[in-house]
Every structure is written in C-alpha cells, then in structure tokens.
Symmetry: C2
Subunit: 152 residues, 2 copies
C-alpha cells in the first residue's frame, strides 16, 4: 500500500510518500505570492498529480482542521484541501484524516508538542531528517497514520 | 464576453451564465450528503467543467467571503471555491470577486437586504424568476458584476 500524506497550504504544501510503513520520499511544493490564487492552486494540483501517478498512491492522509486562529488562513488552507480532495476522487484514492493533536500525540506522546519537538522525534526515532516545517508535518502525519494502523 | 457567476457550496452550488449583459441561463448543482466530500467536490467540478466548456466562459465571478458564522461552513465553502478556482486556472479564465455586501447593495440598494429581497428585485427589475436561494445568489452576483462594469 502506497500512502501519500499531505500538509496542504497555499504557500507551502508538504508531502510524504510511504510504501506500507517504509518512508520513501518527501518534499515541498511552494508557490509564489505574486501569482493569483487560482494559478497557485493549479501548480499545487499539477505537482501532486505527478506524485500520485508516479507512486500510484492508494491512500491520501490529510490533516483535519476544525479551528483556525484566523479566517483568512482557514479559507486558504481549505481551498488547497479542496483541490487535494478533488485529485483523490479523480484517482479513486481513499482519504483519511488525522487531527494535528492526534499526530503530535502519536509522534511525541504529547498533543501540544511544538513543531520542533515533532521534527526531533522524527529524526531520533525514524532517522528522517527534515528541516522544513510543512514537509516535516506531512512526514509526521504519514508516520502517525502508520502507527495507528499497526495498533488496530 | 461570457460571464459565469458561481455561488459555491458543497451541498448546493448555484451558477448563472451571461452573454455580455444578457442573462442566458442559470442552474443549481446539488450533491448528496451521503457521499464523501471528495466525491461531492468532483461532481461539482465535473458539472461546472461542462458549463465552462459549453459556453466558453471568459470570466468567473465568485462571492468573496471573509467572515463566517462557523468554521465548518468556512471550510466547506472554501474547499468548493478551491475546485472552482482550479477549473478557472485550467481553462485560463479570469476570476473576479464581489462580496455579498456589494452584491446586495448593488441589486437592492441595501447591503443588509435578505435573500428574499434580492430575489424580488431580480424578478421585478430583470424578469428573472428564481425560487432557489443559491441559484438566485449566483444570478444576483452576475447581475451586480454587470452593473458594476457599466459604471466604470
């Protein structure tokens, strides 16, 4: 089973690919602030489409967001999630969600851990050294999903 | 110029097509609550794609939303807007936004008018009789855009 975990954002979208429980690859899709929102969304969609096709992803894991500090962020993140969901449906890929709290809890043992603590655990426990926040978030999301699966 | 105005929502997406300032057609895309979000988004995307191609839309007008009463609505509406924006970009269609306040102000002369007042004005002034809220919102959005254009 190929799992693609995605941390979606209009400026930076992190992704990570796992084959069963093995980490294969991760990366970051960035878009220019000067581009119109629709062009940024299209770039993210096209890049993710390449990854979905290249790895024949079976499952997409997304962060489920309920609360946002500000509405502007909520709108932008949700617009990006919309195109990720569309891509999943177009390719018959099943979608699962984990909340940020679940991810932090599973990876670090503490639901309110900060991003740096998550990255430290990923490096220590899984030997995956990611410096970029959104890419690390996607890796953590995929790792957490795999850990949850093995408990069920 | 073909203008497509869209009132996006996961449950009901209203749309209206105008050729220059003439109303051509409007309609409503509905999706079943029982479907997964990604399937609902794909249905809306596919239906809108047909309309975009059939009428060779030159411009898409969207309601610009800043504030939501609840975050769940914000997330769902924004996810739907995301796929509309993607469709626009994929077809090189320029996107413009009007706020609900602008639309109501332009159509009824009162920014806080309710949906029924907007529908009444559309019927009285433009002889377009739409009973369904989200379809009427799309028609109002397109009409308001045309009125704004003629003032500039």
């Amino acid at each position: 089973m190929i799992i693609l975990s995605i941390d979606s954002g209009i400026e930076k979208t992190g992704y990570a690919v796992f084959k069963d429980k093995r980490y294969l690859k991760s990366g970051l899709i960035t878009t220019e602030k000067t581009l119109a929102t629709e062009k940024r969304l299209e770039k993210i969609y096209n890049e993710l489409k390449k990854i979905v096709r290249q790895y024949s992803a079976d499952k997409i894991i997304l962060e489920q967001l309920f609360f946002f500090k500000n509405q502007k962020t909520a709108i932008k993140v949700s617009q990006t999630q919309g195109i990720v969901l569309l891509l999943a449906s177009q390719n018959n890929i099943n979608v699962s969600y984990l909340t940020p709290l679940q991810i932090k809890q599973i990876i670090t043992g503490y639901g309110r851990a900060d991003k740096k603590a998550v990255q430290k655990m990923i490096k220590l426990e899984y030997k995956i050294d990611i410096k970029q926040d959104d890419e690390a978030d996607a890796v953590a999301c995929g790792l957490a999903f795999n850990l949850l699966r093995s408990c069920r």
